[in-house]
């Protein structure tokens, strides 16, 4: 792993150290909003907890995990040390500082704005500064991924960039595009007001800028898992990747279609017209395409492996796969969750169907299933792959790892299926406490209790995960075979420039963004829609005087 070992390990540990407390908060939140009794049942705690849980899961663990994974992939797929290691550590320090600032601000109870922090609700300047540092600091990682890929290409002219490196660099470039929305919102609107430099903000513009990030960020989260699908899973199964070209095209399509689709989060908003809402819904159909193609490629790759292991008959290759490998078990469970979560997503983005479920409990059900389920379970599998290579010690127990994955899978379904149903019944989201004697809410009560049970199963799984990782870290050392990425069935000798770099696709994406977001953002500079802010922790209207 050359010089990426400690770098990757530190990033992973920040991610997983934040993960377990965040899961605990999630379970407490589920208790609070259920008919069951909860300790410390104060709604102010709930909103602070949701803010912390969301910030941790959506911003902290995902960013740190992607960065650590990126450095590990760079070193192992290119077969040489990571360039810019000092900058990488500086980036880590900036991101960690930002994280600590944001977490402290939320824990103080003064910044319960939720991880989407929609202005004109205003939280603590420490929270916004922390989040800006975390996201801004990760741009150093973005630059390093691009620099490392470019350097390798210079040193290996005409050769195809290894798929894993190509894909993680695509992830980094996507993250740069994605983060631009929230960074512009922070630097242009929220931070100036939080620092007292302006008196009013434009709520519509803030929401529209944030929508640039809000969808594309989920692809930033998703792409490491897909990198595992394409480059680690076929190898773990003992097979080959069905098509290298399709792998490259998948990541290119994500880069193109993940960002100019954010308005589908604003379908119900009054500040955008229906024309652009439809256009971005149309594009969101296209971003479903790479996922659908991936499912085929990965199943085909697995079939090759299964038949090589002796599977016969139409489906005989499935039981022949090495299911006792955590990576294989994870991909199987992930694809099931991806099917259900993805179907839910297709409904969310379908223009008019969205009004059935917008801001109901269906929405957190959807993203917990697709992200918390299908994607994060692959994060676990990647961690189980990486830990032996980083620490030089074998995984503590594959059996425990498999139990952990199964518990996560079962827990996620038990948690999210009732949630989907209550959402369809009309349960609003982001509500701390419900009066279940209300005739609208009474039929939802048993469903919510079932999802609490699911939450407890997830907590057990999270504890198992940390146990496995900690025990693997302190176990007996042993020589580990280096990480090997899957070869394609027909490995490419050369690929055209368009499939070996991102210049063309960045240009097309730029034009997409100009067409898709030019008017929706530009209109705010003509509309007079600035409004005062409302500080969520305000104690009095004359601060400093009282």
């Amino acid at each position: 792993m050359y010089n990426s070992r400690r770098l990757a390990l530190y990033h992973y540990w920040v991610a997983f150290a934040v993960f377990l407390p965040a899961v605990m908060l999630g379970v407490w939140q589920m208790l609070m909003r259920s008919p069951l009794p909860a300790p410390f049942d104060d709604s102010n705690h709930y909103y602070a907890s949701v803010t912390l849980h969301g910030t941790a899961m959506a911003y902290v663990i995902t960013t740190f995990f992607a960065m650590g994974f990126g450095y590990a992939v760079t070193a192992t797929s290119l077969g040489r040390p990571v360039r810019g290691i000092t900058a990488a550590w500086i980036g880590f320090a900036i991101c960690l500082t930002g994280t600590l600032m944001a977490v402290a601000a939320v824990l103080s109870g003064k910044s319960s704005v939720l991880y989407t922090f929609y202005p004109p609700l205003l939280g603590s300047v420490w929270y916004y500064s922390g989040a800006t540092l975390l996201i801004g600091g990760s741009m150093i990682w973005v630059v390093l991924m691009i620099v490392n890929m470019a350097a390798w290409k210079r040193d290996n002219p005409g050769k195809p960039v290894p798929l894993a490196m190509f894909a993680i660099t695509a992830t980094a470039v996507l993250w740069a595009w994605s983060a631009s929305g929230v960074e512009l919102e922070m630097v242009g609107i929220v931070l100036p007001r939080a620092f007292g430099l302006t008196t009013q903000i434009d709520a519509g513009l803030a929401r529209t800028l944030f929508s640039v990030t809000l969808h594309s960020i989920v692809y930033f989260w998703l792409m490491p898992a897909y990198i595992a699908f394409y480059t680690l899973v076929p190898q773990a199964a003992g097979g080959r990747l069905y098509s290298d070209t399709m792998g490259r095209l998948t990541f290119i399509m994500f880069l193109l279609f993940a960002t100019p689709v954010g308005l589908h989060h604003l379908f119900a908003d009054p500040e955008i017209g229906v024309g652009f809402k439809f256009i971005q819904s149309f594009l969101t159909f296209l971003v479903a395409l790479p996922t659908l193609l991936t499912v085929f490629s990965i199943c085909a790759s697995l079939e090759i492996a299964g038949r090589h292991r002796g599977g016969r008959g139409l489906l005989g290759w499935i039981p022949a796969l090495p299911w006792n490998e955590p990576m294989i078990l994870a991909v199987g469970l992930s694809l099931v969750m991806l099917g259900f979560g993805g179907a839910g997503g297709l409904i969310n983005m379908s223009y008019d169907m969205n009004s059935m479920i917008h801001n109901t409990a269906w929405v957190p059900a959807h993203f917990h299933l697709i992200f918390g389920g299908a994607i994060v379970i692959m994060y676990f599998a990647i961690a189980y792959e990486m830990w032996p290579r980083i620490t030089g010690k074998p995984l503590h127990s594959k059996r425990m790892a498999r139990w952990q994955l199964w518990l996560w899978f079962v827990g996620m379904f038990v948690t999210t299926i009732p949630w989907h149903i209550t959402g369809l019944m009309g349960q609003p989201r982001r509500v701390a406490i419900f009066d279940y004697s209300d005739p609208l809410l009474a039929p939802m009560a048993p469903l919510v209790v079932i999802s609490v049970i699911g939450g407890l199963i997830l907590l057990a799984s999270a504890i198992l995960l940390i146990t496995v990782l900690v025990r693997s870290q302190v176990g007996e050392g042993m020589l580990q075979t280096p990480l090997r990425y899957a070869l394609a069935v027909n490995p490419p000798v050369r690929v055209p420039k368009a499939l070996n770099g991102f210049a063309l696709w960045n240009a097309i994406l730029l034009m997409f963004m100009v067409f898709e977001y030019g008017y929706p953002i530009g209109q705010f500079f003509v509309l007079k829609s600035s409004v005062p802010v409302y500080e969520v922790s305000q104690q009095s209207s004359t601060p400093g005087v009282r």
């Binding site: 104060d42 490995p491 004359t542």
Partner: protein, 284 residues
Amino acid sequence: MTHDQGAFKVDYPWAKIGWISFAVIIVVSSLLGFVVLSRYQQNDASLDIWGAICRGLGITFDSGSTGSPQPALRTPTNVAWTQVTLDQVRAGDPERGAHVALNCIACHEGTTANPAHLIPALDGMDATSIFKQLADYRSGKRLWGVMDAIAKALSIQDSADVAAYFSTRTGQLQANLPERVPQGGRAFRQSDPAARLVFAGDPQRGIAPCSACHGPGGFRLGAPPLTGQYAAYIERQLGSFAQGIRHNDIYEQMRAIARQLTPDEMKALAEFYGKRNSTLVATE
């Protein structure tokens, strides 16, 4: 021959494919979105192409005041929380306000003129609340005998000064002390009806939790912090709101809530806030 061949070439002209796809996507989706779909309006006639495009952009909109007649204007207050108003409040000088307040403290601080505690305590009251109530007395939007004349004698600057003065005094009102210890018992399971209304509200009757605006643990512009306020005063005001006698609350926020409360609940709420040493006061 190890690179993909045949139907799906690696060597496709990717630039051409990319840009042509881009153009097709933009054209098709724009046509569908702006020219096809946005023509169809629910409950209204379909639009022509130009109307559809404008509708799709949001340039045309259904303005509510399309010349349709409106009932006679009724405003609860003349105070609006504009930047101008907030600046007026913030310009209040507590030292000058101390002089102005010499006329106020006889009733609002002493007990001799206020034996029934129907006059509210003001020490520690939020400045914007005082400012607004004085403005409402001055304009006649709120009526209470002697207060109308007193408010009319105060200028806007006087109001701001006296508001600033009272907001700097420590005293009876606990205002919004931060709660350092995690609290519990503030959900619908709470058996004490007053505590339940204060922290959980009653959504079935449309009653928001009192604490979200009046504290503890919440604040809203214009909503006076109530912790430590005289119970008799609170109870009287709730009754006034319920009957519509007092109607200077913007958009009937308090009237809508007070109408839903029973007299017993009003009494219990008033006593809950009136207790100085109640459990809702943070231990400092």
